[in-house]
């Protein structure tokens, strides 16, 4: 089923190397006496999971969703609202976060997928704005101000998520899981239809595939994975607010996917790490970091279409050639 060729490409080897380094990160943080590194990278891992989910529909399915951060908010609010009612069991919180994200994705996707192109971008944005304002209107859960979570999700004696390193490894494991799941999906018959409908939807329909159903399934799976990342984000921040699903956040997710390389297995990992690292480092250098970041983004779009993943492959190609 899997194609070994694609797994041993330079970009995937780079991804494997990065994952190994990420696994060692808590040790480095210990050596450098800087526990904050773990916090910083936990956030990157969670965004990488969200970007991985967006990559499934944007990179492989050609569906430019400008409202994907909505699921981060939905997943986060499920955890936050349950916690505020004293339900801390992760076994309940996380599956429910995924299920409710799936429900939203199913309804919204069913309507949005009737449109195409730029109208699809706009209608996904519209729904994300509606959900955003729903969050603002949740008066009993803090409204605009958001909701502080006083206890992280509890998994009994199995996992103590309040331990920052345990939580880091949980996020890392889920990221690897999400990357692998998306990889398998894309290589399957389902993924073939999804990719096929990106390049030519009419032809896929003509062959006899009900592409609408396939695309909707992809949309819902992406929403579920992203909802899980929202549950993680709520635990990481110990706080949820409508700001998690502001449209700029959705824009950031798209940037991550494109930056890493759309429709490549490891792209979202590269993209999320690069985006958040550049943001963090530039903002340490200058208060006016966006004046560098903005043009950088334009240059990537204009000249590095394939993203970081293709850069690795190009370097390899040059060395061989």
């Amino acid at each position: 089923m899997m194609r070994p060729a694609s797994l041993s490409s330079p970009s995937n080897l780079a991804a494997a190397l990065i994952l190994v380094l990420l696994a060692l990160l808590p040790l480095f943080a210990e050596l450098l006496a800087s526990p904050f590194l773990v916090t910083l990278f936990t956030r990157m891992l969670i965004y990488a999971i969200a970007a991985t989910s967006l990559n499934l529909i944007l990179g492989y399915g050609g569906m430019v969703s400008f409202g994907h951060a909505m699921y981060i908010g939905i997943g986060g609010y499920v955890v936050g609202i349950m916690a505020s009612h004293g339900v801390h069991a992760g076994w309940l919180q996380w599956p429910l976060a995924i299920a409710i994200s799936a429900l939203f994705a199913l309804v919204i996707g069913a309507l949005c997928l009737r449109t195409r192109g730029v109208y699809f971008i706009m209608i996904t944005l519209a729904f994300a704005q509606m959900v955003y304002f729903m969050g603002v209107g949740l008066e009993e859960y803090g409204g605009d101000d958001g909701l502080t979570i006083y206890n992280r999700s509890s998994f009994g004696s199995l996992l103590n998520l309040s331990d920052k390193r345990v939580f880091y490894y949980v996020c890392l494991a889920l990221l690897v899981g999400a990357l692998y799941l998306v990889h398998r999906l894309v290589q399957s018959r389902f993924g073939m239809v999804l990719r096929g409908s990106k390049s030519n939807d009419r032809r896929m329909q003509a062959i006899g595939f009900p592409t609408y159903r396939y695309r909707l399934t992809g949309f819902v799976i992406a929403g579920m994975i992203c909802g899980l990342s929202g549950a993680l984000m709520a635990n990481h921040n110990e706080f949820v607010s409508p700001a998690m699903m502001h449209w700029v956040q959705s824009g950031d997710l798209i940037v991550m996917v494109v930056l890493g390389g759309m429709g490549t297995a490891a792209g979202p990992l590269f993209g999320a790490l690069a985006f958040l690292l550049v943001e963090y480092l530039l903002s340490r250098i200058t208060e006016y970091w966006q004046i560098i970041f903005g043009p950088l983004l334009i240059l990537v779009v204009l000249f590095a279409r394939g993203g970081i993943g293709s850069l690795f492959d190009m370097l390899e190609g040059r060395r061989r050639g």
Partner: protein, 306 residues
């Protein structure tokens, strides 16, 4: 009550016309060059800041406004020639990303030049009062003049698009891009002109909003999203659609804010109604847009030939 309804309708009309100025430029650029330009809101912001600066230098609101228009037009043209021109053949995703980068750049550039505090644009005495529009009904003079200018621009655009050679090319471009090339027109020049016009209209909206809202960094982003809603509802490329949709959106936003709390009070207690109403009225616009896209995926007035 009738007085309040009249006053709120004027408020809605004023917001709608401001949105129309932005949406007109956006829909032209979108319809003709097929460019999704998120940085359109930046022109709105730059127009406001330039007008405040020029008004400070010349000590006159009118002169400041008149100088800011060509200055922003110039900024628009330079942006088009340096950056956006290369984006026309790209797909929408690339355009969204690159112009998203432009927003970040312009916001920080404005912060570097003018500082983080923003600028106020004081109105001349004759505009900063209110007039009696009906016996015992007063309305701010300045908001009335925004309505006047907005309507005048709408008429101007109508004449420009329907009655001039440039307008003919614009109409042709909106429905069939290849055709203008076949007519032997310098497309590059036409594109630059249209983009400059859009930037100037955005600047006009920005400088008219500045005395009410003050010029602020990031002021373009919120109104940009609303403008996109307007052009999607109206149908991309259609000025008439933008006009109608802008008025609808302006009315819904204002009427929602004005009367929803009273309506909700029928079901909720006063405090809950007062806090839930702003959120629900903000959602109304997006519900409308989603409904229209589901029922009429091309908007209310799709440009012919698309």
């Amino acid at each position: 009550m009738t007085i309040l309804i009249l006053e709120q309708s004027l408020n809605g009309l004023q917001l709608g016309l401001l949105l129309f100025l932005l949406a007109a430029g956006l829909t032209l650029v979108f319809g003709i060059m097929d460019l999704v330009n998120l940085a359109h809101g930046s022109m709105y912001m730059i127009g406001a800041f330039l007008a405040a600066t020029f008004a400070g230098w010349t000590d006159s609101f009118i002169l400041g406004a008149l100088l800011a228009l060509p200055a922003t037009l110039l900024v628009g043209i330079v942006t088009e020639m340096i950056c956006l021109r290369t984006l026309y053949p790209r797909d929408h995703l690339d355009q969204v990303l690159a112009t998203f980068g432009l927003i970040l750049f312009f916001n920080e550039a404005v912060r570097l030049i003018w500082g983080p505090a923003g600028m106020s644009l004081p109105l001349p005495q004759f505009l900063s009062t209110s007039v009696e529009i009906l016996p015992d009904v007063r309305y701010p003079t300045y908001r009335l003049s925004i309505i006047g200018v907005g309507l005048a621009v709408a008429v101007f655009l109508y004449v420009l698009v329907q009655r001039t050679r440039l307008g003919m090319l614009i109409r042709a471009g909106a429905s069939n891009r290849e055709m203008i090339g076949a007519l032997g027109i310098d497309i590059k020049l036409l594109y630059t002109l249209v983009f400059g016009l859009g930037a100037a209209l955005a600047a006009l909206a920005g400088l008219m909003a500045a005395p009410i809202l003050t010029a602020q960094i990031g002021m373009g982003e919120n109104i940009l999203i609303l403008s996109f809603v307007v052009i999607v509802i109206g149908g991309i490329g259609s000025i008439r659609g933008a006009f109608v949709a802008a008025l609808i959106v302006g009315m819904i936003d204002t009427v929602g804010r004005a009367f929803l709390p009273e309506l909700l009070r029928l079901f909720l207690d006063r405090a809950a109604a007062a806090t839930a109403a702003p959120a629900i009225s903000s959602m109304l616009i997006y519900m409308l847009m989603a409904a229209i896209l589901v029922l009429r995926p091309q908007g209310l007035f799709p440009a012919p030939g698309k």
